[in-house]
Point group: C2
Chain length 355, copies 2
C-alpha cells in the first residue's frame, strides 16, 4: 500500500497566514507541527517513508523537504499546474503503476485535521483490504452536524464487516446541499461527508480513467511514454497545459463501478478556513482561541493570532483577528469563508507582496 | 485677556495611540497637526503668544515646546500632579493674578475639536466682554443630539445680546443624564452641553475659591507666598501633594454667583474616544474613516488606523481597529468608551511598555 498526499493549493481562505509561498499545508495551524508534517506523521506508523508520495507544485518542494527530511526527492510527483483532483490523481497513479503495478493507493491530503490517528490508520488498513477486492473505496465521515460545506455520500446495501468498521456499496454522491437538505440527509442516518480520501488499486482507478475520462487517459499515456527519457519534463509541461480541470468526484467517482464507502469517525475536519480552526482548536474559559499575546475584555469565542504584537479586544464575540506582521485580518467568524475575496481583491490590485 | 490651555491628562480612551508619554493632546488625531498645535493655532488670531498659558505636567513640556516653539517656557504652569480641574484652574489663576491682577482668563482645553475657529474666537471675545462685568461665563454648546456623555447647563433669564450671540443667567448645572432625561433636556430648548470652557476675571474666580473652597484657597495662598523664592518648587510639591481632587463644576460653578452662559455653536466635540473620531472625521463612501492602508469588503462606518501594515476587513460595521505597531485594538464603536478598562488592566498586569 502506498500513500499519496495531495499537497497542491494555497488555501486562500487562511489569508493572511497562507500565501503563495507558504500555503496552508506548510503552516503550523493546528499544532507546533505544520499541516504537512502532521499528515506525514499520521501515516508513519502504517507506511514506510518510501511508500509515502506527495503531489505538489515544484515551488513547494524545497520547503516540504526541509519540513519532512525523511521523504526523498523521488517521493515527490511534481504537477506543473493545478487542474483539479482528477488529473492530479491520474498523474500520481501513472507513476505508482510504473513502480508497482499491483499497488494499493491511498489518496489523502495535507490540509485535513484528524483527531484520532489510530482510528484513521485502522480505517486505511480496512480500506486497503477492501481495495484488494477491486473496490474503489471512499472514507465517508459520519456527519457531526448538517454541514452545507461538504458533499455527501449516500450508502446502499452493506458489503462487509471490517473489524469494528463496516463497508457499504455507494448509491450516490451528492453536491454540497442547502441546510434543509443537509438536515434531511442526517435524519436518514445513511449519508456521510465526502472526505476526499480514497483507497484503490492503481489498476482499478486507471481502468476507470480509461473508461470515463478517455481524453485525460490518453494524455497520461503520452506522459507515461516519456517517463525516464530526456524529454520527460518537456512532455509533461506541454501535455499538462492542455489538460482540462476536473475533480475526481465528478470525473470518476460518480460514474464508477464497484464503489464502496467505509463510514468512519476519527475526528476529521477539512481545515478550510479560520472558522474551522476556531471550532477545532481548544479555547480558553471564554472560548477564545489565542496564539500570541491577547488582552480580552468581554471577548468570547474569538480567534486571535498575533505572534508579533499585543492584541487588545473589547466586546468581541465570534470574531477572527489574524495579524502576520505585514497584514492584519479582522472579520466575523460567519464571514470567514469569504476571506478568499480579500485575496482576489489583492490580486486584482496587483498587491503581490501580500499574496 | 489670557488663554489658559489645560493640557493635563492622558486620554486613556484613545489607547493604544495615547500613552503616558504621548497623551492625546500631543497626537495628530484630527488633522496633520496635534491636538495641542490645533488648540494654540485656534487661539493665535486672538491672543499674543505671551498671553497663552498652558497647565501641564512637567514630563509633557519638552514635547509641547517642540510642537509649539512660539510658546516660551514661562508660558507653562507645571502642575506636579493632577487633582481635577478645580486645583488646576486655581493654580493657574494664582500665577495670572500675579502677572496682571485685572486679567481676564479664558479656560480652554487641548483635547477638544472645534470645527469653526472664527465662531469660536467670536464667542471668546463676547465672553470676555461679559466677564469684565464680573460674570463667570461658561460657553454652553447647543446640543446636536441627546448626549449622555456630557453635563448640561440650564439657562435662566436673558442677560444680554452680544452681537450675534446671547448671554443668559444660569439656573442649574446638571450631571450627565440618562437618555430619557437628555431627550427631555433637548425638548425644552434651554439646556446646553457643559463644554468645560470658562471666561472670567481672575479676581472673580479667586473670590469664589476663597468663598467655596477655602481649604484649597489657603493652600494656593501658601504657594503664592513662595513664588519667586528658592523654595517655590519645594513648597509647590509639598502643598500639592495635600490637595484634594475636585472638578471646577462641583467645586465652584454649581455654587457660584453671577454665572452666565453663552450658547454657542461652532462645531465642538470633546474628543473623548475613538467613537467621537469616527463621528467627526470625514469618511469614505462607506462611512469608513481610514488612516493607513485598508482593504475593506462589506465594511461600513469603521475606523481603521494603521500606518504600519495592511488592514483587511470583511463584514465589519461600526467597528474600531487601531494598530500602533506594538499594539492593536479591536472593538465595536459602541464599546469604545470602555477602552480605559484595557489600560486599567495593563496597569494591573504591570505591562508598562504599553502604557
Amino acid at each position: 500500500m502506498y500513500a499519496l498526499i495531495m499537497a497542491g493549493g494555497v488555501g486562500s481562505r487562511l489569508w493572511p497566514r497562507s500565501r503563495k509561498q507558504t500555503p496552508k499545508q506548510l503552516l503550523n495551524l493546528i499544532s507546533e507541527r505544520t499541516m504537512f508534517q502532521e499528515a506525514v506523521a499520521r501515516l508513519a506508523p502504517l507506511f514506510e517513508a518510501e511508500h509515502i508520495f506527495v503531489v505538489a507544485s515544484a515551488s513547494y518542494v524545497p520547503a516540504m523537504r526541509e519540513q519532512v527530511p525523511e521523504l526523498l526527492l523521488q517521493n515527490y510527483i511534481v504537477e506543473p499546474s493545478g487542474h483539479g483532483t482528477a488529473p492530479c490523481i491520474g498523474l500520481a497513479a501513472l507513476y505508482l503503476r510504473r513502480l508497482d503495478s499491483d499497488a494499493i493507493m491511498a489518496v489523502l491530503t495535507a490540509d485535513h485535521f484528524v483527531e484520532r490517528g489510530d482510528a484513521f490508520r485502522e480505517a486505511l488498513e480496512a480500506a486497503g483490504r477492501l481495495a484488494r477486492q477491486s473496490r474503489l473505496v471512499t472514507l465517508g465521515i459520519k456527519p457531526a452536524f448538517p454541514s452545507t460545506g461538504y458533499g455527501y455520500i449516500l450508502r446502499d446495501e452493506k458489503l462487509a464487516d471490517l473489524g469494528s468498521l463496516e463497508a457499504y456499496k455507494v448509491k450516490r454522491f451528492t453536491e454540497k446541499p442547502d441546510l434543509p437538505t443537509a438536515r434531511k440527509f442526517l435524519a436518514t442516518g445513511r449519508y456521510y461527508w465526502n472526505s476526499g480520501m480514497f483507497v484503490w488499486r492503481v489498476g482499478d482507478v486507471m481502468a476507470e480513467f480509461r473508461r470515463q475520462m478517455p481524453e485525460l487517459y490518453q494524455r497520461l499515456i503520452e506522459i507515461e511514454a516519456a517517463i525516464g527519457t530526456p524529454e520527460e519534463e518537456k512532455v509533461l509541461e506541454r501535455v499538462w497545459s492542455e489538460v482540462e480541470n476536473q475533480t475526481i468526484d465528478y470525473g470518476i467517482m460518480e460514474g464508477a463501478r464497484n464503489v464502496a464507502v467505509i463510514p468512519v469517525d476519527f475526528g476529521w475536519s477539512d481545515v478550510g478556513g479560520w472558522a474551522t480552526l476556531l471550532d477545532i482548536l481548544p479555547g480558553d474559559g471564554d472560548g477564545n482561541v489565542v496564539a500570541g499575546r491577547h488582552l480580552g475584555i468581554d471577548t468570547k469565542r474569538t480567534l486571535v493570532y498575533s505572534p508579533h504584537r499585543l492584541v487588545a479586544t473589547l466586546g468581541l464575540e465570534d470574531m477572527i483577528v489574524v495579524d502576520t506582521g505585514d497584514a492584519l485580518l479582522v472579520c466575523p467568524k460567519d464571514r470567514a469563508q469569504d476571506v478568499k475575496r480579500i485575496v482576489d481583491e489583492l490580486k486584482a490590485r496587483g498587491e503581490d507582496t501580500y499574496l
